[in-house]
Amino acid sequence: MPRPSRVRTPSRSAIALIALLAGALVPAPSQAQDEPREVTSSVFARYSDRILKIQIIEASSNAKRSIGTGFFVSPDGLMMTNYHVVSERVQEKADHRVEIVEADGSTRAAEVIAVDVVHDLAVLRTGRPSPSHFTLAPVALRQGDRLYSLGHPSDLGLSIVEGTYNGNLKHTLYPKIHFTGSINPGMSGGPAITAAGAVVGVNVSTMGEQRSFLVPEAQATRLLARVQAPGFVPAADLLTEVTAQLREYQQAYLGGLFAGAPKRADVGPFRVVTEPAPIFRCWGGAERSDEAEAEPMYNEVWHRCGTDDDVFIADDQRAGVVELVHVALTSARLNAAQFGALYTSRFSVDDTPGGDERHVTAWRCATRNVAAPATPVRAVLCLRGLRKLPGLYDAVLKVAVLGRSNAGLSSTLTLSGASWENVDRIATRYLELVAWR
């Protein structure tokens, strides 16, 4: 399953326009609802003044780098939006500034004062009173309830999109609301509300074709409470806060990964770990080298598990990705040397994620033959550091089971934005978890 993409607009690109057109062609919502159009127009009329466009200005060119949406959540001008809308300001503070765009087109500087990188939220201080604002509070919903998402799709002006509430997504680490409606690039950070004006969630991402996702109101409320608590001082460097949040967050899913007796599955002649946590989804398949022949030269069976979710850190950087790929090779027809060549070609594939020099170091790898408890293996660990988030690493562990001349397993574990403690523990523990059947 492809991961949802964030709905921030990088620029008024062709892609953004296509996304908008696609949204416009979506059929009108069900007519079963009573006079939805009147309701929609009144929702827009009542609440649109609480929602503004946010733009990130690149300092040297003084032009928009990206846009998003935000909404007022307090009378003193605090605005809620997505972390990914303002990530450039957080990542490269000197090179970017944040502006809000009033309804009349005038702009005003705003500052990011708190972020929740894990849930993709940020709070801005706009320095202007906002008598018209949303009050965050829990709201009871049933699947199918009508919601209205507001925002600035592709920088085309404030728009309203109708859709339905479809409960929380499974296979995510924290709940995300599944909103059936077209959230498009630029609408990120805007609110999704009921007809009565209660905020249900914050627009965050889409998989296209009306499959959109919201950050639940509860997370926004929690972040706002932190900002409004007496004695709150914005962090001098929000990156430190981001690092701390990622460290804390990963304990929830990496802390106990592969501990105890993890779930195992048989892949070819091997026993491997599968679905290490409920948030993982696993997919599998088998390929023969030659479909036409009764007995192929070799068989290739793959088993892949991954989290649907990840944490946006920067445009080309994600944290919280955990992926397991097992590829079992067997052959009754290749001789030992030929099988070795096949095994080498599969195990030599470099599936490390790409990266940008601003965010990551180059990869460094260590290769050893290790006498793991269940079987001798060849182990490769590739590691790189995250430059702006000290103490966090991306890691790719590759393990090849040694011992037979006609069967082999190449297993790859990818972790992103993990603390060294977790990389260390998992890269050692994992060697114990590949075995012959």
């Binding site: 022949e293 006498a371 660990l381």
Partner: protein, 323 residues
């Protein structure tokens, strides 16, 4: 004084083509076959000139009314007194006169008893060439067959061998033509044999490299040894070519080979230094897996693996600290 008449090759150098002792009697020079010195030069007359000894004992070269005459360096002449060191151009042929008693340096001793064998190496002997060519072809065939995992490994291996043979033939052909132009020696088969030996050594080293990576992935001595082997191969190729192309002594040939290796090493080192700090998003690791019994594969314990990856972290942290 006995005088020797030398006919020099025109063009490069002063190679002597023919020597003739000039006695007392006359020496007839010309293109006709009844001359004492026959010159195959179209600019020389049938009966061009004659050397005669005068009564006072001096030798004189006299033009016999030829079309192009004689030239002793000062333009056309009809009579030239010749002695030791005289050079006369006849048509396009240069004649030089030398005293037979001119001392010559002592003979240069042969480099060693085996040197002669090395100069005319195995690549010059049909059996040696055949052995190397057949051996390399067989090795390459088996090697590609063992590296092919698709159906029809034998056919694919033959295809690969043909492709390799065509490339080697092209390479050897270029050198053979070059050799023909420069030294007048074609020697295609010798060139082909040397190319084949180089290819075989290359494939062999690739395997040594892969096995080394598999068995001793942590070995730090391996990289320098590997580099050394590659440099040796370069030196051997250079020295081998020099053996076939020149009469240099083995020490001189290998010195030239070592110099070539040194230049290669220097270039590689400079390139590595320039590349050192460049960011590459790709990971470099050895994914070589071999299917031998793991009992023969040196392994470390899981605890040692823990220490290995801790070192790796140190390496990454030093990258982080660089900025």
């Amino acid at each position: 004084m006995a005088l020797i008449l030398e006919v020099l090759a025109t063009g490069r150098g002063a190679e002597v083509r023919q020597r003739l002792a000039v006695g007392d009697g006359p020496v007839a020079i010309g293109r006709a076959l009844d001359n004492a010195l026959v010159l195959d030069d179209p600019h020389v007359d049938a009966h061009h000139a004659r050397i005669e000894r005068l009564e006072d004992g001096a030798l004189v070269l006299t033009d016999l009314g030829s079309v192009n005459g004689l030239d002793a360096g000062g333009g056309r002449a009809t009579r030239v007194a010749v002695g030791h060191g005289t050079t006369v151009t006849v048509g396009r042929t240069v004649l030089r006169f030398r005293d037979a008693a001119v001392p010559v340096p002592p003979a240069v001793p042969l480099p060693s008893a085996t040197a002669d064998v090395t100069v005319a190496g195995w690549w010059d002997r049909p059996r040696g060439r055949a052995a190397v060519l057949v051996g390399t072809a067989g090795f390459a065939l088996v090697d590609s067959w063992l590296g092919t995992v698709e159906r029809g490994a034998a056919a694919r291996s033959f295809g690969a061998l043909l492709a390799m043979g065509a490339l080697a033939g092209l390479w050897a052909g270029v050198w053979a033509v070059t050799g023909r132009a420069v030294r007048g020696q074609f020697r295609f088969a010798s060139h082909l044999a040397v190319v084949a030996a180089g290819l075989a050594a290359f494939r062999l080293l690739t395997h040594v490299d892969a096995w080394g990576q598999f068995l001793l992935p942590a070995a730090t001595f391996f990289a320098p040894v590997q580099v050394g082997l590659w440099l040796f191969l370069v030196a051997a190729m250079v020295a081998g070519h020099l053996a076939a192309a020149t009469a240099l002594a083995p020490v001189q040939r290998w010195r030239a080979g070592a110099t070539a290796s040194g230049i290669v090493l220097l270039l590689v080192a400079v390139f590595a230094l320039l590349e050192e700090d460049r960011f590459t998003p790709a990971a470099e690791f050895s994914g070589v897996v071999r299917t031998i019994d793991p009992a023969f594969v040196p392994q470390q314990s899981v605890a040692e693996w823990g220490a290995t990856i801790a070192d790796l972290r140190g390496e990454v942290d030093s990258l982080l600290a660089k900025e």
